[in-house]
């Protein structure tokens, strides 16, 4: 088919101006660094083998870590570099981590999330939704089949928890009363819109998103996705909705228009993304596909500005409530990396899976004040 679309030439010239400006403002990776990546990846394999075989090998590991930028990682989580409490889940259960590094195992829970002011925690067992305090005292329980992904929102006097159970999204008040099914839902964590009104984003199917007012039952928005949705998240001001998928992440405005999007190349995939608190900026974690050596990047979506990168695969990105520090989990090196944005500072914490009885996942980070 030979075909010319309308305004092809003019559209091309206009777009070239925009694309050229983006190209010129990017920070190209210098030749030696780009070509050094396969060498560094090879060095990692050699270092791991050497470390396993002989004590001198450990110095190779140290020099490798130095090479990728996380020098002198702390051997344990002595402290968290910014205010707030972390909620972490691992094979051994849910843990609360205080700023001074002290940890408390709450019990064998699968998911966990703080209440809006960090006074309570909603967690899930195999067939139970549980509300407890950060010391682990259970306040109420609700028996439901396979509850997953609690999301807790509201004011000091009126809170509610949304969660997914047996193919439905359900909502229960913060005191455990009035549990009800809202709609059929896929196994994707729902997200409450910050601000006034009880507005919830959830996934009716793995590739669709609905934004509904829970009180009136009104559907405010319906969105489609070209691949299965992994995560929904609102910006702090409740204006933008992040719909995260590994190859087609989208950020929508209140009218359902795409304001930012990301489609990594075939050779890479996105593993996580999150709004920087207090902003409308989204940071993305991009990794090489499983089994392929390469580097992982954390970068801001619109500008492409890189926050941090290493060799190996990152897993997760979590922002501190004040938006100044990000925590990146780095399973390849069994480390957590705290990265301060702006005046960049990096703090690594090694042997992280040993400290939490399995590789930990950051479930929530709450309440700087």
């Amino acid at each position: 088919m030979s075909y010319r679309a309308p305004n092809e030439q003019e559209a091309g010239e206009r777009s070239w101006e925009v694309v050229r400006a983006a190209y010129e403002s990017r920070e190209p990776v210098a030749w030696p660094r780009r070509h050094a990546r396969p060498l560094i990846a090879g060095a990692l394999v050699a270092a791991v083998v050497a470390a396993a075989l002989s004590p001198p090998g450990r110095s190779v590991v140290r020099s490798f870590r130095k090479a990728v930028g996380v020098e002198h990682a702390q051997p344990a989580l002595f402290s968290v570099p910014t205010p707030g409490q972390l909620l972490v889940t691992s094979r051994s259960g849910a843990w609360v981590v205080q700023r001074d590094g002290s940890k408390r195992l709450l019990g064998h829970y699968r998911d966990a999330v703080f209440s809006p002011h960090g006074l309570f925690i909603a967690a899930t067992h195999a067939n139970e939704l549980v509300a407890l305090d950060p010391k682990g005292h259970v306040h109420w329980t609700l028996a439901r089949p396979s509850p997953r992904f609690p999301a807790w929102a509201g004011t000091r006097t009126d809170t509610r928890i949304a969660y997914v159970s047996r193919g439905r999204v359900r909502v229960v008040a913060g005191d455990g009363a009035g549990d009800r099914a809202v709609a059929p839902a896929a196994l994707v964590p729902p997200a409450w819109r910050p601000g006034a009104g009880r507005v919830l984003a959830y996934a009716p199917t793995p590739r669709t998103v609905a934004v509904v007012n829970i009180d009136s039952g009104t559907t405010l928005l319906r969105l489609g996705s070209s691949e299965a949705i992994r995560k929904l998240e609102w910006s702090d001001n409740g204006r933008l909705l992040l719909v995260f998928t590994p190859h087609a992440t989208r950020v929508y405005d209140p009218r359902g228009h795409i304001v930012t999007q990301d489609d990594p190349s075939d050779a890479m995939l996105d593993i996580d993304a999150a709004f920087q608190p207090g902003t409308e900026r989204v940071a993305v974690v991009r990794i090489p596909p499983s089994g392929i050596s390469g580097s992982s990047d954390v970068f801001f979506l619109r500008t492409g500005r890189k926050l941090f990168n290493v060799t190996g695969a990152f897993r997760q990105l979590a922002w501190a409530p004040n938006g100044r520090w990000a925590l990146v989990t780095w399973p390849t090196a069994n480390q957590w990396i705290f990265v301060r944005e702006g005046r960049r500072k990096i703090i690594g914490v090694s042997r992280i899976s040993t400290q939490f009885g399995g590789l930990p996942r950051v479930a929530d980070w709450c309440c700087a004040s």
Binding site: M1, E8, A11, V29, S225, S226
Partner: protein, 169 residues
Amino acid sequence: MVGSGRDERAWVRRAQAGSASDFEALFRAHWAPAYRAAYLVVRDAAAAEDIAQEAFLAAVRALDRFDRRRPFGPWLHRIVVNRAIDWARARALRPEAEQVDTPAPERPERDEELLRELDRLSPEHRAVIVLRYLLDYTPGEIAEMLELPRGTVNSRLRRGLDSLKELLQ
């Protein structure tokens, strides 16, 4: 005109090293197919321009990480077509959204008629037809690009062509 595979790999390599002229060669070679593909799926010139432009911006962001052993065109077209499908689906969910901005000619020629009929197909069917007959991808390549089973691509092509035939009869 899209360059040879060797040209393209050289453009990508030099663009990664900072050569604006090579990046421009890459843009010029791929703009028209990308814009046409987007336009034929969304049938809205402004949206097609945004979609193709965003795909190139994604290319800029991914340039340093781009695997030069892979061809650039299919990667770009995958982004373009997936975004165009998203846009067309979103428009279908917003009936108040703007109408197609290209008025039909008073005496449409066969091609124009065909394109207007194409507009009546679902975005998913339009996308495979555009990839197959405008961009000359094989069904296997389309399947890989859109992450669909090969049989689904073939059936969409078949059903799309059958619908076009019926509509034009």
